[in-house]
Amino acid sequence: MTRISAALLALAAGTAMIAPTLAADVTPERLVNADKEPHNWLMNHRTYDGQRYSPLERINKSNVKGLKLAYAVPLGGGAGNEFTVATPLVEDGFLYTTDSWGVLYKIDVTSGQLGRIVWRMDPKQERQLRNRGAALWGNLVITGAGISPARIIAADKDTGKVVWETSFPDTPDVTFTSAPLAIKDKIIIGAANGDQGVRDWMAGLDAKTGKLLWRKFTIPGPGEPGHETWKGNNNAWQTGGGAIWVTGTYDPATNQTIWGTGNPVPMFDPFYRPGDNLYTNSAISYDPDTGNMNWFFQYTPGDMWDYDEVGTHILIDGTVGGQQRKLITHSARNGFLYTMERANGAMVMAKPYMEVNWTKGIDQKTGKPLDYDPGKDIQTYAGVGNLNPNEPPKKVCPSQAGGNNYWPSSFSPKTKLLYIPALSNCVTVTIDREKHNKEKGWNGGNAATNERWESNLTVADPVTGEVKKSVHLNYPNYSGTLATGGGLVFLALLDGTIAAYDDTTLDQLWKINVGSGFSAPPMTFEVNGKQYIAIVSGPSPVSRRRLENTPELRDQRHALVLHVFGL
């Protein structure tokens, strides 16, 4: 009997799997069928479709009020202000996660009474960086670490020993902050750190050896299509960003992997880089075998508000005009919910899910802003761009941080609704035309607000774009949402609150405050017939800054701790 059929048999018998002494290989087949292992969370978004939905339902609307801390596991321990942005993975009672030192942890969660760290793989990173977690492939656990040069490291799942390590010394300033995505016999990675004036890229590595098989820059070089969208005399394409920093999705049926790309750099100053700046702020469909681009769609051409679109491109099925369709939905940082055809990115609809003022709206056929002018080198859109230094600055909504952002939306196939965690603020963005070098930084300006940063949990129908319901929350959500078969939506806030909502009424059914803020998503798993909700506290430096206008949390302290809740 193969390992996979043994796993399926155990599931068919309705029993939770007993963890074997040596963990089974995570085969490409198991990854394609990750939804058929409801107790597990085998990849960053749980399944290739990126829905972040778990069918587990032991914790549900009727009993969630009894949810309590089952155990906690502190991580880190090397310095103050440690943080994480990682989604833990769970395979058959063992949890894998990473921290801001790039340290990869294997934690035994089989007992339900405590979490014991089995091993730590410490890449000896020079300083703390964002790390969104790991990928499982075969007997390997794979994550990114470090800078100058950044590395992708594969550790043996049983021992934590490094099996291979690949660095890219020809692009010394990139970082790897997204969890890698394992597809067939390859590990797909994206390079980040775009905001430091880096030209970023996607790559496919041989999963067994880490050898680079293909690499494609997200910003086209001279002679490549799209290069003409980087005008001016600054060679801005060489420092133009287009970072990849959230894991993409994958459609096995069409063999395409869809990733969102980051903003053009300098983020606030379009004068440095006139033009549309392809392929920044885009959805790109790649062939995972070759890296060839199948299609792309750019959301905000010639952006000046940091509306990067790395957030998940979720694969869903929906009925459009009476026909069953394969779709992609994306709650964009720019305030709109876009749904498009999976085969080619053709627009189905784009509707705002929050207050938006940077454009009058989106053309429902092309997906482009109604006030986008392809003839212009610098877009004016709805006129809130503060392009003229002599005019008083105007407010722009959403803020430069969104809307939604890297903290994931989730989709429940039960309700067919999308649960969008979104900042609800506006900001004032001013351009600083000197900020485009290593010394002054590559921001090209500044974003500011005197308001509190707060958030909404918004439920939308991703086929029609209709906002069904929205609740306003007093603190920013830099964590995301998790939808479950129990009819619940979990989220976490920067004040230390973790809460569960009814997936239809959005009634708050449960909450706890653990003090430390969150910038990492919640997830769920089952072991020995019990369901758990897991989330790691410890907010990133950027997310902590969102508490600048929140006086009651002035003296808040944070801690890097895995919290596991159960009934």
């Binding site: 502190p74 880190g76 405590l114 979490g115 730590r120 801690a559 890097l560 701790v561």
Partner: protein, 145 residues
Amino acid sequence: MSNCEDITIDTNKHSKAAGWQGGTFKITERYTSDLTAVDPTSGEVKKSIRLNYPNYSGALSTGGGLVFLALMDGTIAAYDDTSLEELWKINVGSGFTAPPMTFEAGGKQYVAIASGPSNSGKSRLVNTPELKEQRHATILFVFGL
């Protein structure tokens, strides 16, 4: 603590440079601990239970008939103050070197304890291989019904 140690005298260790220990101690066993209930007027040991990890935290006894304690492995536990039966426990991962306490606010009773073990507390895990990779955090935990 329930252990014994081998102590050797080092007559040179009595200066700032060499330290003021005057010797060293050696242990190859696990450090473990006992919760022991004694009649302080007679000195009679009424009951004692062995715990798998060192207690550097202390004991809190309450009118609810409970004794609370915390251990270096991250366990906080409550015992029946007569039978010493364990009635409740939770593991929060980080070790403890601070005592538990209790208070009431708004008509509700809480048990409070801060985690985050001291250096010498941590050094007592020297022969406890299953906690080799344990990490710690300074956190105030507050428990209630």
